[in-house]
């Protein structure tokens, strides 16, 4: 049979038609993709994401809502362009039904278009604000938090409970750092405080000496908006410069994560941070999760482990509601925005933009059974990404950035 152009068109046309018809029958397993990072500087968190997710699935015998789950793990190395390629590969070759991830903000933004185009159900770990605010992605749901969602309650706590009046902010010079600082500054200044100094060192600066030498000492506290290992290095050098005791460090959700805490010393004791999770949260789900994780891995679960464990709980609750029929994407999206589920981070539900409404914990580093932990000292219940502001008003403003809100009280 000669291979003619007509035959080719018929064959490809048939294949395209077959692909376009959604598979209605609930045959076969649910294919779950995890977009994570297992090589490069972000690998520490990315490996925890995989470990916690496998733990969740093992605890349920790899079965959610009566269907087997097949896990496909992809590693992007933390490179946004690579993330997009890997997601495409998971969709087109592995035919995943749903993706958990990606890990970082830049990767989430790089994948945004493709997620819309492929209509890929996504449960995100990354914090990029506008993906659930001014440019909501209809297939995107986030059970962790936006960048500023944990920083805004900390600002409230610092102003009202700790009684701080003058603070400096320092954060990585990336969208995540800008958004966190902006949220902190807005709430802190609305509560009557003043942000008198602001610094954005490059993400990959190995030495904070220059920034420490400039830090004002006539302030109450310095807010740390660092990710990865930067908070860890900043604090060690902070101590080295003899600043401990003169200025109080307080931190955002990744500055003193459990992952860096386990390598720190007494210099971390007493530091107050805020996050939507702590290994020390006292609820039944977390007690089970954290103790099992610790027993198996010999360290406490942190931000990234809790992120996938939470998203897996969201997935299971949604699947239970739609009886496992994940192939019906609109029904899944409708269901996920309506669920209410108890997870390791506490009760979780979603707003109409797909972002979580959940507890934010104010934590203080303490020593327990010989290791450093983030003990919970206060809980802000059901915090939304808009904090106490009205969503419509909040969304009329520009997205949190280096320049918005404008810093009014900087002193030079």
């Amino acid at each position: 049979m000669p291979f003619t152009r007509r035959r080719f068109m018929q064959a490809t046309g048939a294949a395209a038609a077959a692909a376009a018809v959604p598979v209605r029958a609930q045959a076969g397993p649910i294919r779950l993709g995890l977009m994570t990072v297992k090589t490069g500087p972000l690998a520490s968190g990315g490996i925890d994401m995989e470990r916690a997710l496998t733990q969740y699935l093992n605890e349920r015998n790899n079965t959610l809502a009566g269907r087997k789950v097949e896990l496909i793990v992809a590693d992007s190395g933390g490179v946004p362009a690579q993330t997009r390629t890997k997601i495409q590969e998971m969709v087109e070759r592995n035919h995943i039904h749903l993706m958990i991830g990606p890990l970082d903000t830049a990767s989430a933004l790089a994948a945004d278009d493709y997620i819309r185009q492929a209509q890929l159900l996504t449960l995100s770990v990354a914090a990029a604000e506008d993906m659930t605010q001014r440019k909501p992605n209809p297939w995107f749901t986030r059970g962790t938090s936006t960048s500023s969602q944990s920083a805004m309650p900390l600002a409230d706590y610092a102003a009202k409970t700790l009684g701080y009046k003058r603070v400096a902010v320092i954060a990585d010079d990336i969208a995540y750092g800008h958004e966190m600082c902006a949220g902190f500054m807005r709430v802190f200044e609305d509560a009557g405080g003043k942000v008198v100094q602001r610094m954005f060192p490059p993400l990959t600066v190995p030495d904070y000496g220059t920034y420490l030498a400039q830090l004002k000492t006539n302030i109450d506290a310095v807010f740390l908006g660092f990710a990865g290992s930067n908070g860890f290095r900043y604090l060690r050098q902070f101590n080295e410069y003899g600043l401990m005791g003169k200025v109080k460090p307080i931190g955002g959700m990744t500055a003193l994560d459990e992952a860096v805490l386990r390598n720190m010393g007494d210099e971390a004791l007493g530091i107050v941070t805020s996050c939507w999770y702590s290994a020390e949260i006292d609820n039944p789900v977390n007690q089970k999760f954290a103790s099992a994780f610790r027993a198996q891995r010999k360290y406490d679960p942190g931000f990234y482990a809790a992120a996938t464990y939470t998203e897996a709980a969201v997935l299971e609750a949604t699947l239970n509601r739609i009886k496992g029929a994940i192939e019906d994407k609109p029904a899944f999206m409708k269901a996920v925005r309506g669920i209410k589920v108890d997870t390791c981070r506490g009760p979780v539900r979603f707003d109409e933009y797909g972002n979580v409404i959940g507890n934010v914990y104010i934590r203080k580093v303490a020593r327990k059974e010989g290791r450093l932990v983030n003990s919970v000292i206060h809980t802000y219940p059901n915090v939304s990404q808009f904090w106490m502001y009205k969503p419509e008003e909040f969304l009329e403003n520009p997205v949190y950035s280096r320049d918005w809100p404008p810093a009014k009280n900087l002193e030079s």
Binding site: T39, P41, P202, V205, P206, T210, Y241, R262
Partner: protein, 255 residues
């Protein structure tokens, strides 16, 4: 030598991680620096003998190979030591900050400055005042003629490469108390090393010394005065030097 070596950042990080492991058994920074220096020197020697030797004169090959090797080292470190940052203890006597004329300065950083100056002087004496140094200089200037008069150029280059690797490895440990060991340390350090070398001039010790000073001062004051332009300030002098004086300030060859 004329080798474009981009593994220096990775060797620095490898040294830091080896130092971390040594200090688990012998909690002494100086011993750890020595051991890491020797180990990284051995690694550097193998790299030079087995791979770089075959790429003499092929600059693109050298750049690609050394870049590839640094990625391999980085992921091997991730596999061996995990992804979490690991602190390196500051020696007890250097932990307290020093107070001078109303300024507070960490004692350990002063010690690092002293070590750097001593190493620079030793290197200068080695190159300019010893027979070995004279042979190295001869080998770099004209390898064929040097061989003809009986200088073992090949063995000499391996030695020099080992020495460079040893300094990078020991440097990783000595920088450890300030920076700690973490994935990505290699990529954070390499640009600084490149800027120093290009600014000062390839193949010149005095150039490297001047380049380091200029880079350090420009970067520190630049960050303090114009924080938003930190990277512009860091790279602009290098670009200007390449554009107007390709040999660098004191270099012998074009970069």
């Amino acid at each position: 030598m004329r080798i474009a070596n981009l593994t220096h950042g990775a060797l620095f990080m490898l040294g830091a991680y080896i130092g971390v492991s040594v200090m688990r058994y012998i909690p002494n920074l100086w011993v750890a620096a020595l051991v890491a220096g020797l180990a990284v020197a051995a690694f550097g020697g193998l790299l030079e003998r087995l791979i770089l030797r075959k790429l003499g004169g092929n600059v693109f090959g050298q750049v690609l190979v050394t870049l590839g090797v640094s990625f391999i080292i980085a992921d091997a470190c991730l596999l061996g030591w995990g992804g979490d940052p690991i602190p390196i203890q500051t020696p007890a006597i250097l932990q307290a900050p020093v107070r001078m004329a109303g300024f507070v300065f960490p004692a350990y950083r002063l010690a690092v400055v002293v070590i750097a100056v001593v190493v620079a002087i030793l290197l200068y004496l080695l190159m300019e005042r010893t027979r070995l140094g004279a042979m190295i200089r001869a080998g770099v200037d004209d390898p064929q003629m040097a061989s003809a008069v009986g200088i073992p150029v090949s063995r000499l280059f391996t030695t020099v490469f080992c020495l460079g690797a040893a300094l990078a490895g020991a440097g990783g440990v000595i920088g450890g108390p300030i920076m700690s060991a973490y994935p990505g340390l290699d990529a954070d350090m390499l640009p600084l090393a490149l800027i120093v070398v290009i600014l000062g001039g390839v193949g010149s010790l005095l150039g490297a010394f001047a380049g380091a000073f200029i880079t350090g001062f420009v970067y520190t004051f630049g960050v303090a005065l114009l924080p938003d332009l930190a990277y512009v300030i860091l790279f602009l002098p290098m670009i200007l030097v390449i554009a107007f004086r390709p040999r660098g300030l004191f270099g012998k060859f074009a970069a």
